[in-house]
Point group: C2
């Protein structure tokens, strides 16, 4: 997906927020913003929006001296997700079309980062989101392919959402590899986050080798690329991965909530719609 101008102000807003999470020193906020402005000015040098995301968030890390500004938030998100995990399992247990609902749960996991950390609120938010149907739903295609499939690769997105993905993995009961970012970037899941989500018990965890908030294939390891190309089914989670992978040759199921107008437009859906789309 190409880079949209709409992303530029959004990056500035995001790095200001990230800097403030780490430090109260306004001179650092100012330095981060100035350097981030210099980067977004040259947005045409980048191929994908998540590359700009990585570049501006690297400034936050450098200037604040904190290599993982979202560490605490990620911990909180995983904790919150683990709290609702038993309810989600029970919810799924009561459903007939289990694959549909497991996909819906995994897509809904994408809201965990904006939820308020209060047990009742999270439960309510998750229930409300689960009620919303997919706007694009290639479930029948997925079901057909699953009958012949032996291996599944899931490309992870945020920490916390990882716990919701676990439910989809448990439901599919396939030989699954779950891929994470090679190092902390925004609130995306790393190996540590995936382990804290209980994914190491259910899947083989692997780093993609790429540290952008969207998987860039030519930055990935040889090992990952082999898995990517050989897996019978690939499910890509979240917006960042959609931005970098939507034009790839291999068939991919994109499972996400369209949180911003740019992604929603590209998919032809409304903001906040849920999508399970084979591209």
């Amino acid at each position: 997906m190409e880079i949209f101008l709409d992303c530029l102000p959004c990056f500035l807003r995001q790095v200001l927020e990230a800097s403030r999470m780490v430090t109260d020193r306004t001179e650092i906020h100012e330095d981060v913003m100035k350097e981030a402005i210099n980067i977004i000015k040259d947005y045409q040098k980048f191929r994908y929006s998540p590359e700009i995301g990585r570049a501006v968030h690297q400034i936050v890390k450098q200037r604040t001296g904190n290599s993982d500004p979202y560490k605490e938030i990620k911990k909180e998100n995983i904790k919150s997700a683990l709290q609702v995990y038993p309810l989600l399992k029970q919810f799924l247990d009561e459903k007939t079309d289990k694959l549909y609902w497991a996909c819906k749960i995994a897509a809904t996991g994408n809201i965990i980062d904006s939820a308020i950390y209060n047990e009742i609120n999270i439960e309510e938010a998750v229930e409300r989101e689960l009620d919303k149907e997919f706007s694009i739903c290639d479930l029948q295609k997925l079901k057909r392919e699953l009958q012949q499939a032996d291996s599944l690769l899931i490309i992870g997105d945020n920490a916390g959402e990882t716990v919701f993905d676990r439910i989809l993995i448990e439901e599919m009961a396939l030989d699954t590899i779950y891929a994470v970012r090679s190092e902390p970037i925004i609130n995306d899941a790393t190996m540590e986050d995936a382990c804290a989500s209980g994914l190491e018990l259910r899947t083989r965890l692997i780093s993609t080798g790429c540290n952008a908030p969207g998987l860039i294939l030519h930055e990935s390891t040889k090992e990952f690329l082999q898995i990517f190309h050989q897996a019978d089914i690939v499910i890509s989670k979240g917006q960042g991965n959609y931005e970098t992978l939507s034009e790839q040759k291999r068939e991919i199921y994109f499972l996400l909530k369209a949180k911003c107008p740019v992604i929603a437009d590209d998919l032809g859906v409304n903001v906040n719609d849920y999508v399970l789309k084979k591209c």
Copy 2:
């Protein structure tokens, strides 16, 4: 008020939106964004946030060749406001504390630019907003001063809101001067907009001489400055004027809705709160 870093992404978002309103040519959107990024990079050269607003919106005007990108929107806003005018008059007529409600109506006028242009929606939105009380309300001070006052200066804000201000002016029945921007800037009211709102029948209209989306006194005309300093009471409408006038020596009543976190923080209120504050 000082310039906050939060304003920078907001300006970028705003000029992209403004450029798209005027033209579909993406190369123009790109040029506008690049030049706007260059301006916000040097934000420390500016004294007030509305100065940056003026600079970036001037780029939109130059690059699109449209000297008034918000012209149609302003017309629509005035039309919508004139639609609810009779209802507002009737609403006020039924109230006991007329000055309180006239101030509340004038403050509520600040929402007209975000309302949907549908008669029922506007009426509902206005009614809902009128129900919300002021978070800061220096009405008693204003009432006391009004007993001795002969002259009133209102520094206008948006087109459309002007119609709501008319109700306050009609209620106060003072010798009133209403000041507007010297030329079109964003959706702020100009002389033409004030006339279209029916204000020329009720007040003496004057241009401040300043074309920023917040009144910068040292850019104003001598005539305006004389009025500003001599008026018994000055009411300043909206956020932009608050940003440039909040630290002025002369006493001013600021009448506004705090629409953004930066202004709300400065005033010590929540976002979306209403304020009538004497500074």
